[in-house]
Every structure is written in C-alpha cells, then in structure tokens.
C-alpha cells in the first residue's frame, strides 16, 4: 500500500485537534474509578470538576486544557507500506502547522535560546516524530500526543548503580512523585523507564506514561514492578492537584530495556490527568480515527 501524503497531512492536523478536545475512553473510565474510591471530600470535588470539564469540552467542542503542549507523533509502519520517509515527515509537520493556524491553537513552541515563537507549533526538531516498524502488513499507525509542559517538567533520570538494585529504582520513583506534588496536575500516569542507555531509558519513561490505562508492561518483571509502584504512590496522600487525597496517580506504568552490567538507569516522565492522545490507522480500506 502506497501512503497518500495528503491523507497523512490531513490526519496529522485532525489528530492534534481531536487529541486536545476528547479524552480516550480508558482515561474517562480511570476518572470514574478514582471518583468511586476517593475518600477525601476536597479531592472528590476536584475530581468532579475534572469530570465536568471533560463534558464541557465535548459539549462546547473546546480544548480540555489551554496547554497545546509539544506535539509528538509516534509512527508504526507495517512491512507492506510503501512510503517516502522525507515526504512523510514533511506531511506531518505541515498538518501540525495547519492545525495551529487554521483552528487556531496556541503555539506553545519557542526557540530554546531566543525564546522566539514562530506561531506554528513547529521549530527545530519539533514536532517530535518517532518512527518504528512492525510486522503488521499493510498497516500504518500514527499516534498523536500533545504533551503538556506541567507534567513534562516532571521528568527525571538517575543513573543508579547495580548495588542500588530494584530498591534504588523504587525509592527514586516514590521520591520524584513526592517532589512533583501538585505541579504535574495529578491524578497522573507516572511513566517509568528501567534499563537501556540514558536516552533510551528516558524515552521508555515517556512511552510508559502515554500507554492506555489498563495496559500492562510486556515484560513480566516490569509488570510486577508497575503494580507495586501503583499501590505505593497512592499511599502518599498527595491527591488531585496536590491538595490531598487518595488519588495521586491513575497508575504507574513501567517499560524496560536490557542494560549494561555496570548500569541501573531509571527515568520518570509524568503524564497529567489530561492524558490526551489520538490515533489514525491507515489500511487499504481507508483511514480510521480513534485513540
């Protein structure tokens, strides 16, 4: 199947806007779950307002949060897809820019040194485009994540040493959740990367934080760790918006990679309660838009 670059550009535009307006069903269910178990009255009223906001955003077709984020596109390209990689990246960039100028959206992207905003949500190496390949034949998937800055600023890496063991990983995650407090807009999804190199570890933390609620780490050891960490961080009493309560995180998600004999890296990347994402799936039948 040959990729239609006009359709890719349209989808890149559409996904950015949709992600900003409609939360995925698993996140909505996550809110219902927290609301049902929360015992603190202030926390309960904050969760109720968040749930109300999801409804208002849909009723008024408005953005859930004013932070349009850093645009990230995650691509999964099947073996039966015929495409020009350069044109693919250009089409995504164009779609991202058009979403910003045509909707219009706030461009939240500036040059890192001059701080100049081109008002396009684009800049050097932004939108971030991650490319991966799968064995799914004629399937091209594009996931869009507008990553908010409040939670992205809750990003940490520690090159633990082997002698610190898994205990070092666990205490690092708990301490970073405490340090973040209300700044990262809890209830959050705490993304944790374990292993790899420093850059891979950080990337895995981001991947984990963006995973759908209810999904589990494909590595059974990672799955065990995320279960333990999920229970532990919700014992801290930080609560929604850091104003106290049981609902500090929807979940902790872990992703793993093999690492070096002398290394034990751990990274944390937080996803705020506005855990936005949207997905387009291209097949010979057409383009399907979802989450």
């Amino acid at each position: 199947m040959k990729l239609d670059m006009e359709a890719v550009e349209e989808a890149a535009k559409h996904l950015y806007i949709q992600a900003l307006k409609i939360l995925p069903p698993d996140i909505k269910e996550g809110f219902q779950r927290l609301d049902a178990t929360e015992t603190d009255p202030t926390a309960k009223s904050i969760l109720a307002t968040m749930i109300q906001n999801i409804e208002v955003a849909e009723d008024t077709t408005n953005l859930l949060c004013q932070d349009t984020g850093i645009p990230i596109y995650n691509l999964e390209i099947g073996s039966g897809i015929d495409f020009d990689g350069h044109k693919l990246k250009e089409a995504i960039r164009k779609g991202c820019e058009r979403a910003t100028t045509e909707h219009p959206l706030r461009s939240s992207v500036v040059h890192p040194i001059t701080r100049i905003n081109e008002q396009t949500s684009c800049g050097i190496r932004v939108p971030v485009i991650n490319i991966d390949f799968t064995d799914k034949d004629e399937v091209f998937e594009m996931e869009m994540i507008p990553k908010g800055s409040g939670s992205e600023n809750g990003s940490y890496l520690k090159m633990c040493i082997p002698a610190e063991g898994v205990a070092g990983i666990k205490s690092f995650v708990v301490d970073k959740v405490i340090e973040c407090g209300g700044r990262v807009c809890p209830p959050t999804i705490v993304g944790v990367g374990v292993g790899g190199t420093s850059d891979l570890c950080t990337k895995l933390a981001k991947k984990a934080g963006a995973r759908a609620l209810g999904s589990t780490c494909p590595d059974p050891e990672g799955a065990k760790l995320e279960k333990e960490l999920s229970a532990a961080v919700n014992m801290l009493g930080i609560g929604p918006q850091g104003l106290g309560g049981d609902s500090t995180a929807f979940a902790v998600h872990v992703e793993t990679a093999a690492t070096h004999i002398t290394m034990n890296p751990v990274a944390v990347n937080i996803m705020c309660h506005s855990a936005r994402r949207a997905r387009a799936t291209f097949t010979p039948k057409g383009v399907e838009i979802g989450f």
């Binding site: 859930l64 706030r106 008002q119 407090g181 209300g182 309660h273």
Partner: protein, 208 residues
C-alpha cells in the same frame, strides 16, 4: 470555611479576611500573566500600561483568535480556550508583582513557595488554587478579552479579561502564613517509609 464573592479590584482588608480552605468567586476584572511576561517586566525593565493595583492575576497563556477590533473585542482578540499553568516556575515574581504593581491575588495551580508565603503575609496577598487542566470550564467564566499589553510576547502577553462568576477558587495560601500545601507535604513525607516498606524497601534518606 467561608464562601466569598469579591468584585475586583479589592482592598487589603478584604484579603486579610480570607483564610485557607475558604472559597472565592471573582467578578469583573482579571489579568492574565505568565513566565515571559514577568521576565520582561522584572528582568528586562519593561513597564505595563495597566494599573494592577488591588487586582488578581492568573498564571495563564490563552488560546486566542485574531479578529477585527469591535466593541466586543476592542483589542482584536477573541478567546478560544483560557486555562491555568503551573505557578511554581513564577515563584520569584510574587513579591515584585505585589510591591511594584500592587497585585493582591495570584490564581494558579500547584501552589507557590516560601518567598511567596512571606510576601503574602508581609504585603497582604493570597494564592487562589484553580483546578489545572479544566480550561474548557474556566473559559465559560470569561466573558471576553478587553485589552492586551506586551503584545509581542503572544501568547505570553499581559491580558485583560472581563469575567463573570469566576470560580469557585480555593484559598490555598492566605495572608496569615497559612498554606494547604504544607499539610500535604508533611503527610507525604511521613508516609514515604510506609510506601517503600510495602514494596520491601527499607527507607533511608530521600534519593537525589
């Protein structure tokens, strides 16, 4: 816990009446301010044309649409989505904002630190917590954008909003040294050992 409705601008007496845990609904006027706005005002020496004396500022950078100026949109901007950003990055600007510009209320999310607590106490100010990430709802409390200053910083300009029933907002830091964030911080520190023990980890000092 008292519910207050305050028409802006307000007085120091009105501020001193507010206690942590109270809720506030603001009426009439509100100003939007952000990182770059304050970097330019306090580090680069730029002045604003607005008189912020007795006013409230909200940590925001809105989504706006440029339109031809009209009676309803005199500054040529229509609001699309207005929400709130994390306050802590702007901690060092609280005191100058109060001392130099007479601001009395800061609205934001996630709380402010020790310097702000001292400034609120010394000068008569409060921090009102809004629920971050609920911008669609917040936008319905803003009638329109009436004026703009430091426009070259878009979206981080200084925005003037006409508001109606803006809130309820939670008094999270008051003019008497009180802060709701203290209690939560203390609880989390106390429960850290328990959370680690549940995972079979002996608690030592916080990792860095």
């Amino acid at each position: 816990m008292t519910e207050h409705t305050i028409h802006m601008p307000c007085t120091e007496e009105q501020i001193r009446e507010l206690k942590v845990g109270d809720t506030v609904i603001l009426e009439d006027w509100l100003y939007g301010i952000r990182d770059a706005t304050q970097i330019h005002m306090f580090d680069k020496g730029r002045e604003t044309k607005f008189d912020l004396n007795g006013h409230a500022v909200i940590h925001t950078a809105p989504n706006v649409k440029k339109v031809p100026p009209s009676n309803f949109c005199p500054a040529g901007y229509e609001s699309v989505c207005i929400g709130t950003t994390t306050s802590m990055r702007m901690e060092r600007f609280t005191r100058p904002l109060m001392e130099k510009n007479g601001v009395r209320m800061i609205i934001g999310k996630g709380g402010l630190g020790e310097d702000s607590r001292a400034a609120f106490k010394d000068l008569g100010g409060v921090y009102l917590a809004i629920i971050g990430g609920t911008a669609a709802l917040e936008t319905t409390w803003i009638e329109r954008i009436t004026d703009v200053d430091l426009e070259d910083l878009n979206p981080e300009c200084l925005w003037e909003f006409r508001i109606k029933h803006f809130g309820p907002l939670l008094v999270a830091m008051d003019a008497h040294g009180g802060s709701l964030y203290d209690g939560v911080k203390k609880t989390a520190a106390e429960r850290r050992a328990e959370a680690l023990a549940a995972m079979g980890v002996a608690a030592e000092g916080a990792s860095s």
